[in-house]
Symmetry: C2
Subunit: 161 residues, 2 copies
DNA sequence: ACCTAAAGTTCTAAAATTGAACTGTCAATT
DNA sequence: AATTGACAGTTCAATTTTAGAACTTTAGGT
């Protein structure tokens, strides 16, 4: 399977994996949320090769997650900032961090703590139901095909012919 | 950077990316949450090569996300089920799916809908603060070094010497 | 004139992934 | 008794990605 095919699958997870499902993209986004904006800064913070960094930034811009904006002329230099689409990845990042905090820490404890400015407390992110507000568990969720589900099998067969 | 180095970084995101940050692991986990358990079933659902599937399953078992349990003798056959550590990835999966639902759908709409058995409604997952219950936004969160943060620079220099 | 900084690009070697065929065990079928 | 098929992998060559290092371009500072 190629990356482009992933993007076209009738599955929101697969399509998102096409965007962030590699070793570097999520780390680049972590840096974005920590206010990193420039090529050299990404490179030295992550230790990614310049080649790959250039490629990933290009990809994230193409997909609308980052915007490349000039911050000076002569020589023209650009920096990378999160779009709204990129900012919307925050829950993904936090869910990942929280899993790491729970299952991948050593004896010394968490590398980072998060403080919620709203309430002033150190917190963990919790995923809840938009309708009833209760925390979500896999077993309480049933999945139904939506309007964008895979075509009926008959139609798929047509296409193959 | 190698995968093992990722696992050892003082960052819960990097450590989690070491587990799920590749093209296939998240898709395999999607299938697990959809009740897929067996090698052939994963293979035909995903179109992954058998070679890679075997490797990824082994890795997820080694990392404690899946457990390999025999379901028959003669010939001995095994199936793969989520451990608690694996089940805890549900919020990550849901956050990813929700982002795809928001930003990667075509005109036909979502491929899948989710129903919360608790309240009986179709829902979206929302990430909230464990302390005050308010939805989280990146701008309202401040980050502090925790007990497992990177060693002081002086100590790092020691190590290098 | 030379050095540095930033943001890339180019090149070769190493590593990961793909695709396809092959293996071993056993049950069921011919 | 021999053949077929299911399942859970393993093996191997070819292709694609990634890593590592050097190089390029534009311009300011000394």
């Amino acid at each position: 399977m190629k990356w482009d095919e992933l993007e076209e699958q009738p599955c929101s997870l697969a399509r998102t994996v096409a965007v962030i499902g590699d070793r570097w993209s999520l780390l680049i986004l972590r840096e974005c949320f920590l206010r990193t904006r420039r090529f050299e800064a990404f490179q030295s913070a992550l230790g990614i090769t310049r080649h790959l960094l250039a490629e990933r930034l290009k990809k994230l811009v193409r997909l609308g997650v980052l915007r490349r904006i000039p911050y000076q002329d002569s020589p023209k230099r650009y920096e990378y900032i999160l779009t709204q689409k990129g900012l919307d990845l925050y829950p993904v990042i936090m869910a990942i961090v929280h899993w790491g905090d729970t299952h991948m820490v050593d004896s010394r404890g968490r590398p980072m703590l998060h403080e919620h400015q709203n309430c002033g407390k150190l917190f963990d992110p919790v995923m809840v139901c938009s309708e009833c507000g209760e925390p979500l568990a896999a077993k309480q969720v049933h999945v139904h095909p939506g309007p964008g589900a895979r075509q009926p099998v008959a139609l798929k067969a047509e296409k193959v012919r």
